[in-house]
């Protein structure tokens, strides 16, 4: 049996975790069972997100590569991973929980859980429909919680509006433009793109400061500037446009999916001097891969509601139990406003539909299993990027599980062609910058209000960027202390 304790820092210091107390009842319960302990992995995390998709103890089958190759496998061929959230261990009778989850392995499926979907690799899971719903109906969510999105961020506002950071960036651009102008190589139009514009506060700050600094600089760059605000939601763009009304002549807006910017912005290929992205990548769909005992696996997931929780929700909102999944389907496809029209007997007003949405979201958990990968080259991480890009990380770091950050990578590789040879991409987000972090920390997914958050696989982005001719660097966000935010900068190398 292999026991992997990831949050090693929690084992020391004044408030050290009593690991023995956590593990002893678990190991005792495991020894009582007939399970082949030699095939067992016990992985211990510290899930820092208060709202998340995990139980205190989860069981994850590791399917046999032999089965994937079409050969008959022995019934006991599968290995097993038991995942423990050490943060919640003190709150549970762990031996009982272990006995319970092991007993459940032999039960018919669905006895204790209401499944919302079949197994998937992750990016197509229904949890991303919840995430999408949140952004589409942000106003409804904010009204229901009485709290604006930015207030949910650490520090209460987006780092994107930090004036010192904005000044630094603009001044560096002026240096590049001055040099190009001196060589008669500065284009007439100077393009800047912001992906994920939100309420437009960052755009307003940036444009205000740009106009001010340009007036001081005296080069009339503001006259040539085109700021392209891009967001998934037309509604969001509309309010962002109001916010930057003073700069209307220099601003255009595009409703687009952050993972495919070229679909709308292809005409700007090689023309953009700055692509600015803040807190977008961590919220894009991802899959997990794991290297276990020399084999590479997809971590497949399946969203479910615990049966007892599902029953409580059904009762609270007057939904018949067997219609609960269908009602959730309607919520995800129609949104809370139209759900009121569709099921007025259950939801008399939007606020009630929003309560239902929040209750379901709060209860959603993920079941996981490991399915062998048939070949890295056959795995499409994102359009035009295959799994071979994972090879260096998987080969170099032994048994490791990590997010692939598929959505972030799709966005990244579809953004790079926009950049002028002297352009740059700057992105503030929560990045893993050292693969060792995958061995020591829990990096998602977590629930952040109504959205999903996963730390972004920085080394993978760096590797892919390098293969596309870009230097990708990471630095702690320089203009606020005590933040997890990291700044990614990508520029053409050589």
């Amino acid at each position: 049996m292999l026991v992997e304790v990831r949050p090693s820092k929690k084992l020391r210091g004044a408030r050290a975790l009593n690991l023995t107390a956590c593990l002893a009842p678990i190991l005792d319960a495991l020894c009582e069972d007939s399970l082949d302990l030699s095939r067992l992995r016990l992985v211990c995390d510290w899930v820092q997100y208060k709202n998340n998709f995990r139980d205190v103890i989860d069981v994850r089958p590791i399917l046999s590569p032999a089965k994937q190759n079409g050969r008959a496998a022995e019934p006991d061929d599968d290995k097993l991973e038991i995942a423990i959230d050490l943060r919640r261990c003190a709150d549970a009778d762990l031996a009982d929980v272990v006995r319970d989850v092991l007993a459940r392995r032999t039960e018919p499926e669905g006895l204790q859980r209401v499944y919302l979907e079949d197994w998937s690799r992750g990016t197509t899971s229904r949890i991303w429909e919840f995430n999408s719903l949140y952004w589409r109906f942000l106003g409804v969510w904010e009204k229901a919680t009485g709290r604006l999105y930015e207030q949910a961020l650490p520090g209460g506002e987006s780092d994107a509006r930090n004036i010192a950071g904005v000044h630094e960036l603009i001044k560096e651009m002026f240096l590049v433009w001055d040099d190009l102008a001196a060589h008669n190589a500065l284009p007439d139009e100077l393009y800047v793109i912001e992906l994920g514009v939100g309420n437009g506060n960052q755009a307003k700050t940036w444009l205000d400061e740009f106009a001010k600094l340009d007036a001081e600089h005296g080069s009339e760059y503001y006259r040539r500037l085109h700021y392209m605000m891009c967001d998934y939601s037309e509604h969001v763009l509309s309010s962002a446009r109001e916010n930057v009304a003073d700069h209307a002549a220099h601003v255009s807006s595009f409703a687009l999916d952050a993972t495919t910017p070229m679909t709308a912005l292809g005409f700007l290929r090689y023309k953009v001097f700055l692509v600015y992205i803040s807190n977008v990548y961590d919220n894009l769909p991802t899959e997990d891969v794991a290297q276990i005992g020399g084999h590479t696996y997809h971590a497949e997931i399946r969203a479910y509601l615990p049966k007892a929780g599902a029953a409580r929700i059904a009762e609270r909102f007057g939904v018949e139990s067997h219609k609960l999944v269908g009602t959730i389907d309607k919520l995800l496809s129609l949104g809370p406003e139209l759900l009121v029209d569709a099921l007025s007997a259950n939801f008399g007003e939007v606020a009630r539909a929003a309560e239902f949405w929040m209750a379901v979201w709060d209860a959603v958990k993920l079941e996981e299993r490991y399915v062998p990968m048939t070949g890295l080259d056959l795995y499409e991480i994102a359009p035009g990027v295959n799994g071979e890009m994972l090879r260096p990380m998987l080969e170099r770091h032994g048994d490791v599980r990590m997010q692939v950050s598929n959505g972030a990578i799709a966005s990244f590789v579809d953004t790079l062609p926009l950049l002028h040879p002297y352009g740059r991409l700057q992105c503030h987000d929560i990045f893993v910058t050292d693969p060792h972090q995958y061995r020591t920390g829990f990096l998602g997914p977590g629930k952040y209000d109504g959205s999903i958050v996963n730390w972004v696989n920085g080394p993978l982005l760096q590797h892919i960027g390098r293969r596309k001719g870009f230097d990708v660097g990471y630095a702690p966000f320089a203009h606020r202390t005590g933040t997890n935010i990291v700044t990614l900068t990508a520029q053409v190398r050589d």
């Binding site: 060589h183 190589a185 284009p187 090689y270 080259d377 295959n386 071979e388 062609p417 002028h420 040879p421 390098r466 293969r467 596309k468 001719g469 870009f470 053409v492 050589d494």
Partner: protein, 367 residues
């Protein structure tokens, strides 16, 4: 194949070239598996002998692809080279590369020239072996390309020369010695690539001076290729070819091979403004896009060039090397290029009145 036989074969093949001959710029599609194996070599996972065998096989396939596409003048695809710079720099005596490890085969080394380069009359770069191998694989005429002295100098971080121009000239002399050996081995078509020149437009005069040192007393059909860079399938610079003129008029080369398909054909007007009486290698395939051009598009591009360059002085080629394109895209693009050239060739062979296609709009400076 002996060197004499090689020369004889090359000459007889040359005689059969059609009007509007098609060729490649140099590099050919590098498959992902080959990139992995090349990287494995730099990570010391496979031996030089294995890598050499792998290269031999890949080059044979690249030549076959070009032949099947109908390319008139083929290349070895530059598949042995890690990149356009290091394959040469690392072999020039006096160029020092301290760290020869690479995490990825295509990365550039950090090169220095701690002492002025010694002048040598003999080749040291080993390109002759590459040419002889290629010659043995095909009966078609071969174009053999190498990076020019100006671009090589831009990747030398530190040198003993107080004046960069002297470094460029020294590199040119080393390449001249290599060119002499290549011609002695039977090479008849040599091309100098200057992918960095567009980034330093003020240095066009120096670059041309150095090119003339490379070609000095070397009896070959010389071409000069200048593009806006193709590193990782991206342009390294943007601009126009104005900077090349009038300096390039002094270049001792027979063909100027330029990038047009990606940038547009506005710069063709330069050939009206300046008296370039030699051949133009017309870029008709965008190597930075995986979208395959139709033969009709290729033909239209050729027709447009024919407004300023007569057909006997026009060569049809992609904008640059095909190295970053997937093999199936590269093959399709070459086939479209060959078909487009054939269509225009046929039109030219018809009596004037039989030409049905309307001609393209008159070329202007702004177009």
């Amino acid at each position: 194949m002996s060197q004499e036989t090689a020369r004889s074969t090359e000459q007889s093949a040359s005689a059969t070239l059609p009007m509007l001959p098609t060729t490649v710029v140099g590099s050919y599609s590098v498959p992902e598996w080959l990139e992995r194996l090349k990287t494995d070599f730099y990570l010391h996972r496979i031996s030089p002998a294995h890598l050499a065998e792998i290269h031999d096989v890949a080059i044979k396939a690249a030549i076959k692809d070009q032949e099947q596409a109908g390319i008139d003048v083929v290349s070895d695809g530059e598949l042995r080279r890690d990149n356009d710079i290091d394959y040469l720099l690392a072999r020039i005596p006096g160029v020092s590369i301290t760290d020869t490890n690479k995490a990825y085969y295509y990365d550039y080394y950090d090169a220095e020239v701690p002492e002025p380069l010694a002048t040598s009359e003999t080749s040291a770069l080993g390109l002759v072996d590459d040419f002889v191998f290629t010659r043995g694989q095909t009966d078609r005429p071969i174009k053999f390309s190498f990076t020019g002295p100006f671009s090589l100098s831009r990747r030398i971080r530190k040198s003993a020369y107080s004046n960069r121009a002297d470094l460029v000239r020294s590199l040119a002399r080393a390449l001249n010695a290599e060119a002499r050996e290549l011609v002695a081995a039977g090479a008849t078509r040599l091309q100098i690539d200057e992918p960095f020149l567009a980034g330093y437009p003020d240095d066009a005069g120096l670059a041309i001076e150095a090119i003339n040192l490379v070609t000095e007393d070397v009896e070959a059909d010389w071409a000069l290729h200048v593009c806006y860079g193709n590193r990782y399938a991206r342009p390294s610079w943007e601009g126009h070819y104005d900077f090349l003129f009038p300096a390039v008029l002094d270049a001792e080369v027979g063909t100027l091979v330029l990038e047009f398909a990606r940038k547009g054909y506005g710069d063709l007007a330069l050939f009206k403004r300046y008296p370039w009486e030699r051949r133009l290698g017309l870029g008709v395939i965008d190597v930075k896009s995986e979208e395959v051009e139709t033969s009709e598009i290729v033909a239209a591009r050729i027709r447009r060039a024919l407004e300023v360059v007569p057909p006997e002085r026009l060569i049809v080629n992609p904008d640059c090397g095909l190295r970053h394109l997937p093999a199936f895209v590269a093959r399709a693009k070459l086939k479209a290029m060959v078909a487009g050239a054939a269509a225009v060739r046929q039109e030219l062979s018809q009596p004037k009145q039989a030409t049905a296609e309307p001609s393209a709009p008159a070329l202007t400076e702004e177009s």
